[in-house]
């Protein structure tokens, strides 16, 4: 990983299907109907079932870890939901290095994070910190 402030992570493209959202709800024991029951989601004013907040977090974590490479350890990630994301809408998760500091036999790399829907709507923003060992 060539990490210096301003470096952009290769983005992760992810389109959550209805089935994927249902399985994520099932495996996380999340029975909130807005995530798998389309009729209920519409009754709450959403056009379709809603992507789980924690799925944004998962994708942010994967974005920075994929960039950081083998041996990297996620130390911190935080995000805030800015707009609702829905099933079937392609999402792009991107990161940008904001700081790199020495940490003994490795580096601490900090990132800004953005999750964006296909129409340009920013669904979530956040930050993360990854420890990358020296090679």
């Amino acid at each position: 990983m060539a990490a210096e402030p301003g470096t952009v992570c290769p983005p992760i493209e992810y389109t959550p299907t209805h089935l994927a959202l249902f399985r994520f709800s099932a495996v996380t024991w999340n029975s909130h109907r807005i995530h798998f029951d389309q009729a209920h989601a519409r009754a709450e004013g959403f056009p379709d079932v809603v992507v789980q907040s924690t799925l944004h977090g998962e994708m942010f974590a994967r974005t920075v870890l994929s960039f950081a490479g083998p041996g990297a350890v996620l130390r911190r990630v935080e995000w805030r939901n800015r707009a609702t994301a829905f099933a079937g809408v392609p999402l792009t998760f991107s990161g940008r290095v904001t700081a790199v500091t020495d940490d003994g036999d490795g580096h601490l790399v900090e990132f800004d994070l953005t999750g964006t829907a296909a129409d340009g709507t920013v669904c979530a923003t956040g930050t993360a910190e990854v420890r990358v060992p020296s090679r």
């Binding site: 992810y14 994927a20 399985r23 994520f24 099932a26 495996v27 996380t28 024991w29 999340n30 029975s31 909130h32 109907r33 807005i34 029951d37 209920h40 009754a43 709450e44 004013g45 959403f46 809603v50 789980q52 907040s53 924690t54 799925l55 977090g57 998962e58 994708m59 974590a61 994967r62 870890l65 350890v73 996620l74 130390r75 911190r76 990630v77 935080e78 995000w79 805030r80 939901n81 800015r82 707009a83 609702t84 979530a124 956040g126």
Partner: protein, 222 residues
């Protein structure tokens, strides 16, 4: 998924304080296809105000209380199912290979905090109409509200491996009444500290839950 749940609630001695003061600031919220809170004050507005006041009152009584849970043992199946559900098939294959070789299986970093509940239940009849359990929708039992998640801040302090018995302490840290384009809402801030059975810190997670009044009159969330 996980068994052996033990739940206790204790008081820390920290006095409850009123965190639900006047409207403090405006933040963005997910879209809301409801009648807008514009124009003259309506009965819907008044009902929402009463409902959110009740959420705040309940929250004030809970600030300072600590809920301790034994969540249970993390299994290889738990972490592999999580990984497959988020499309990380390679992780699952690698984890099963580690298991077969007798190597530790380290959970995906967002596994612990991705799980909404580790409880066996509750039974379907005890869920809110929107499908949430009472513990997942604090301070709202019986109230006509909707809920969305505001976000999380997760600090990962140690790797979580399959076989670890995880415990958690969860507390409501604050409740704030706010105002957005769609009207008033309450932000509940919660902290969960995850440890292993020896008390070793694993993960600290702060999250916000946004509670909105349901002014549609369509019976959802009541």
């Amino acid at each position: 998924m996980l068994g052996g749940r033990v739940l206790t609630t204790v008081r820390t001695g920290r006095p409850a304080t009123n965190r639900c003061g006047p409207v403090s600031r405006t933040i963005a919220l997910p879209p809301r296809a409801r009648r807008g809170n514009v124009g003259p004050v309506t009965k819907d507005d008044e009902r929402n105000a009463d409902t959110l006041d009740e959420v705040c009152a309940r929250a004030e009584s809970l600030v300072g209380a600590v809920e301790r849970e034994r969540l249970g043992e993390v299994t290889v199946r738990d972490v592999c199912r999580y990984a497959v559900a988020v499309g990380d098939d390679e992780y699952a294959a690698s984890a099963r290979a580690d298991e077969a070789a007798g190597r530790p299986v380290v959970a995906p970093p967002m596994f612990l905090t991705g799980i909404l509940s580790w409880a066996d239940g509750p039974p379907e009849g005890e869920l809110r109409p929107d499908g949430l359990a009472a513990r997942e929708s604090p301070c709202t039992a019986g109230l006509p509200v909707r809920q969305v998640h505001g976000g999380q801040a997760v600090r990962l302090l140690a790797p979580v491996t399959a076989g670890t018995v995880v415990h958690a302490e969860r507390r409501l840290t604050s409740a704030s009444r706010k105002h957005g384009k769609a009207g008033d809402f309450v932000v509940l801030a919660l902290r969960t500290d995850y440890t292993d059975a020896a008390g070793t810190p694993l993960v600290v997670m702060d999250e916000s839950v946004i509670v909105l009044g349901d002014d549609s009159g369509d019976g959802h969330g009541g």
